[in-house]
Every structure is written in structure tokens, then in C-alpha cells.
């Protein structure tokens, strides 16, 4: 069997037929592998300085070049995958959990609780997303922890709205009535019967939200308010390379491309899953 036939068979059996979904899964798995195995894959230590190899353009020893401290850009991009994937996962997980619980309770309970929570969402949405986040980070002080807290406080609204609207349409269905007549508690019905049916569109949204979280995290770090140097994070790397832009384009170009490719992976996965499940938020 030739390599091409082998790949075709692999594609037919293992990968989904939709090309967008496949592209998303391939890109994300590749980054995940890089993040997991970067201690063995990366040719150099990401924060080791080498005074004899500063500002080298891309060459066989340093495929992506080196920065003003002589640090290898390729190694830093690889180690950066760890931080930036972590930003995506944690940055989405907190808003997702918070928003899902609030939205589900709001839609199921209704009445005054629902009205108050909806007004609160209106107020949070009145603020520009990044501006409110920066304001919260201003109070908590710069750092990745502050970013996660700010993300949770601002990001939950989208999930709450999505889940609430799903719960509202589902809560009068027969299976809920059946569960009620069996004497199940409201909590059990909400979290074990309604929510599993209401989560599809917010899961798809979470995938596309990863793009927003990644860009926000990198932007906040670029502005000097998130991940702090010398940690290899892509936004920080772009900021560090900016002053060398006229002489060493490679310091900023490669970490930026890494962000673009990772974001593409999440976009493709969200589009693919949305088409597959028929859920487009």
C-alpha cells in the first residue's frame, strides 16, 4: 500500500468527511502535540540567553531566527503553545460554566430572578468587551490570574443568553412534564434532563469563543497587562520584537503567525461542528 493510499484509508476511516471539521481537528491536534511534547521537540531552552547568537535571521541552526537576547524563536513559539492553549481552555471554561448555570437557572426559574439577571446582562453588554476586561485587570493588577477572573466576569453573558433561550424552549416539552410527574426534583430535571439537551449550541459557541479568548489574552499580554516576560507567550513575544521591527522582522512575525494558525483551527472546528450538528449560534 502506498503512502497516499494509506493516508486515504486513514482519512476515510478515522477523520470525519467534512473538510472544515477535518482541518480544524488536524490543526488543533498538531498544536496540542507541540504543547505536550515541547520539552523534547524544542531545540533550545525558551528562556536561555546566548550573547553570541543575538538577532540572527532564520538559518539552519535557528529556523525562525533568534531575538535580541539570543533566544531561539522556534523554541519560544513551541513553548508559547503551552501558555496560549492554556489561555484558551481556562479562559473559555470559567465563562462557560458560570454562564451555563446562570442561564439555566434564569430560564428555568423565570419571574423576578430572570428579569434581574437579564437586566444585569444588558448592563454588562453595554460595556465594550475589552475595555471592561482591562478595567477589571486594572483593579486586580496585571497578570494571567487577573485575566482569567476578568474573562469569567465579562464572558459569561453570551453563554447565559444562549442556554437560557434553549431552556425556555425546552422546559414545556413532554419529557420535562414526564420527569415532573415521576416526582423528580427541579434541580435534577434542570441539570440532568434539560441541560444536556440545551448545550449543543453553547458548545459550538465555546469553540468560536476560543478565538476571541485567544486574541484577548494575547492582546492583554501585548499591552503588558497579562502574561509577564520572560515567559514565552505569543503576545508578549510580538511586543518584545516590536522595537526591532526595522532590523529583525522574524521576532514578531512568527509568534503572530502561530496565533493566526491556532485561531484558524478553532474557527474551522466551530464551523465544522456547527454544520454537523445544525447548530449555528
Amino acid at each position: 500500500m502506498t503512502a497516499i493510499q494509506g493516508f486515504a484509508a486513514f482519512r476515510r476511516r478515522v477523520l470525519p468527511r467534512e473538510s472544515t471539521l477535518t482541518a480544524g481537528i488536524v490543526i488543533l491536534s498538531a498544536w496540542l502535540l507541540v504543547a505536550l511534547f515541547c520539552p523534547w521537540l524544542a531545540p533550545y531552552d525558551p528562556i536561555a540567553q546566548d550573547p553570541s547568537a543575538t538577532l540572527l535571521p532564520p538559518n539552519p541552526a535557528h529556523p525562525f531566527g533568534s531575538d535580541n537576547f539570543g533566544r531561539d524563536i522556534l523554541s519560544r513559539v513551541m513553548w508559547g503553545a503551552r501558555i496560549d492553549l492554556q489561555i484558551c481552555l481556562i479562559g473559555v471554561a470559567f465563562p462557560f460554566l458560570l454562564g451555563t448555570v446562570i442561564g439555566a437557572v434564569s430560564g428555568y426559574v423565570g419571574g423576578v430572578v430572570d428579569t434581574l439577571l437579564m437586566r444585569l446582562i444588558d448592563i454588562v453588554l453595554a460595556f465594550p468587551f475589552l475595555v471592561l476586561m482591562l478595567a477589571i485587570i486594572a483593579i486586580l493588577g496585571p497578570g494571567l490570574g487577573s485575566f482569567y477572573i476578568a474573562m469569567a466576569m465579562v464572558g459569561w453573558v453570551s453563554y447565559a443568553r444562549l442556554v437560557r433561550s434553549q431552556v425556555l424552549t425546552l422546559k414545556h416539552r413532554d419529557f420535562v412534564l414526564a420527569a415532573r410527574s415521576l416526582g423528580y426534583s427541579h434541580g435534577r430535571i434542570l441539570f440532568f434532563h434539560l441541560l444536556p439537551n440545551a448545550l449543543t449550541s453553547s458548545l459550538v459557541f465555546a469553540m468560536s469563543d476560543c478565538v476571541l479568548v485567544l486574541l484577548s489574552g494575547a492582546s492583554v499580554s501585548y499591552l503588558g497587562l497579562g502574561v509577564q516576560p520572560p515567559v514565552a507567550e505569543w503576545g508578549v513575544m510580538v511586543a518584545e520584537g516590536q522595537s526591532f521591527i526595522t532590523t529583525a522582522w522574524w521576532i514578531t512575525t512568527f509568534p503572530g503567525l502561530a496565533i493566526v494558525v491556532l485561531a484558524m483551527g478553532f474557527s474551522f472546528l466551530a464551523d465544522g461542528l456547527g454544520d454537523k450538528w445544525g447548530a449555528r449560534p
Binding site: P128, L214, I245, T246, T253
Partner: protein
């Protein structure tokens, strides 16, 4: 009659949101650790001086009274003094708001100019190569970090080609236009990705309507159907889409102003956060939130004015 009532009623509906915004901003600044009087006076302040400042700014009053003072000062056009610049925050904002407004307007204009032909092409050649290419480009565009795109644009247009200045904001109108073009282009490239995707979707939805079939049956040309009937109907959701994205757009200008060193509100905000100038943070956040609410209100009213189908 209904329409008039909507125009009057809609701003009144916004009052709770405005109240909420003011409470949130007030609480935010009060939850900063440390005594504001001590921050204002510095480390070597005497207890008497601190007590005097606390009384002067009403910091020894109960919280609800402090909120009342905060609102009263706001009505009088006072937002508290900046620690760094030593002037009232509102004056500072007034002197910095112009570049930001031009940046936002210019970006929207360029984004529409980019997105309109792309969305039209994608919708009219649905499923063909052009459609796939435009969708791929707009998907990539969604994930472009604005700060990085800005540097790449500078690298190409300013450093390699030398067409535009690298950063700053000119002193006369021609210079300002020259300085603002690249920042506007950067924001527009990112925004046009969102616009293209949504305008394409709304054009495709419109094309499935019965009136399109009816127009075809009456023998109207594809071009006439598209430009005279489908396009105007698809533009109304796009107005709303632009309004929904105004918050995102303002966030984008914060980053872009920092990259290009434009003396606008966004750069002011970032500098104020780094130097812990909380009165300025409070003022700029408040202005940005009010602007977002105002733009959304205008979009609501425009939709009602333009689309006779909207049910009130």
C-alpha cells in the same frame, strides 16, 4: 403613531442600563485596594491631611451618599482629578476624544468598502471557487490579532514601501488623514471579516425569499433583482451588526492606538491602567460605555426608520 412612541420609549427603556453602568463603574473604582486619599497625597502624608482630603471628597460619608455625590459631580461635568496629568478627567477626555472618533469612523467606512464587494461576490457565486476563497479569507481574518496585523501593515507600507508614517498623529488635517490611514486599515481588515461572513449569510437568506422567485418569474434580470431588491433588504441587518460590533471596535482601537502611538482615548486608558490613575480609568470606561449605548440606540432607531417590516 407606533413609531413615534418607539422613538420616545426606547431611550426611557435604557435608563435602568445607564443606572447600572454608573453603579458598576462607581463600585469598580471603590473596590480598588488602598485609601484613595493616601494615593492622592502620596506616602509621606500626615493623618490630618488624609482626614481633610477624606472630608473634602466625602470619603467619610456612607456609600450611598458617596454614590449620590459621584452622580452630582458627573452632572456638573466633574469626574475627579487625574493623578498624573493634574487636570479634571473630563478635560483630559475632551482633548483626547477626536483621534478615537476619527479612527472608529474611518475603520467602519473602510470595512464596509472591503466587505461589500466580497460578500456580494461570495453570495452570487455560492459554492463556486470565489465563494470558498472568500470564506477562507474571512475565516482567517477572524483570527488575526489586531496588534500583530498592525505591525505587519507597518512593516509593509511604512518600512518597505515608505508610503505612510510609522506612528503618531499629525498636526493639520492632511497629515492626520495620512497618519490615520494605516490604523484604520488594520481595524477595517479585522472588522470586514465579521461583516463579510454576516452579510453573505443575510444575502443568501434574502435570495431564498418568495419575492425573488416572483421577480425571476416576471423576467427581471438577475442583476436588477440583486441590486434593487435583495441588497437593500440585506443591508438593514448589517447596520445592526455594525452597532453590535461597536463595543468590539472600541476594544480594537484601544489596542491599535497603543501600537501606532495615537494620542486617543484608548492609549489614555492603557497608560492610566499601567500608572494606576484610577479616576482616568473610571472616566474613559464610562465614556466608552455611554458611546456603546448611544450607538446601539441610533441603530435601533435607524432600523425602525428604514425597515417598514419591523414590528414594534
Amino acid at each position: 403613531m407606533h413609531r413615534f412612541r418607539f422613538v420616545l420609549w426606547r431611550p426611557i427603556q435604557l435608563l435602568p442600563v445607564l443606572f447600572g453602568i454608573s453603579v458598576l463603574v462607581f463600585v469598580m473604582v471603590r473596590s480598588i485596594p488602598g485609601d484613595p486619599a493616601r494615593i492622592l497625597l502620596g506616602v509621606r502624608s500626615t493623618p490630618q491631611a488624609i482626614a481633610r482630603i477624606r472630608a473634602q471628597y466625602g470619603l467619610d460619608e456612607p456609600l450611598w451618599l458617596q454614590y449620590f455625590y459621584f452622580l452630582r459631580n458627573l452632572m456638573n461635568g466633574e469626574m475627579g482629578k487625574s493623578i498624573i496629568y493634574r487636570v479634571d478627567t473630563l478635560k483630559l477626555i475632551d482633548s483626547r476624544i477626536q483621534p478615537t472618533i476619527f479612527l472608529v469612523l474611518g475603520s467602519v467606512l473602510l470595512a464596509v468598502l472591503i466587505a461589500l464587494p466580497l460578500a456580494t461576490g461570495a453570495a452570487r457565486y455560492r459554492g463556486r471557487l470565489a465563494d470558498h476563497a472568500i470564506r477562507l479569507i474571512s475565516t482567517i481574518g477572524l483570527g488575526l490579532p489586531a496588534f500583530w496585523l498592525a505591525i505587519m501593515v507597518i512593516l509593509l507600507f511604512s518600512i518597505s514601501l515608505g508610503w505612510f508614517p510609522v506612528s503618531g498623529y499629525g498636526s493639520d488635517w492632511a497629515e492626520r488623514l495620512h497618519h490615520l490611514f494605516l490604523p484604520c486599515l488594520t481595524v477595517a481588515l479585522a472588522l470586514s471579516a465579521v461583516l463579510t461572513r454576516n452579510l453573505r449569510a443575510s444575502l443568501l437568506m434574502e435570495l431564498q425569499n418568495d419575492y425573488v422567485t416572483a421577480a425571476r418569474a416576471r423576467g427581471l434580470s438577475e442583476n436588477r433583482i440583486f441590486w434593487r431588491h435583495v441588497m437593500p433588504n440585506s443591508l438593514i441587518p448589517t447596520i445592526n451588526l455594525l452597532a453590535v460590533n461597536i463595543g468590539w471596535l472600541i476594544g480594537g482601537t484601544v489596542v491599535i492606538e497603543s501600537v501606532f502611538a495615537i494620542p486617543g482615548l484608548g492609549q489614555l486608558l492603557v497608560k492610566a491602567i499601567i500608572s494606576r490613575d484610577y479616576m482616568v480609568v473610571q472616566g474613559v470606561v464610562l465614556v466608552f460605555a455611554l458611546a456603546t449605548v448611544a450607538v446601539n440606540l441610533i441603530a435601533d432607531l435607524l432600523t425602525v426608520a428604514l425597515d417598514p417590516r419591523v414590528k414594534l
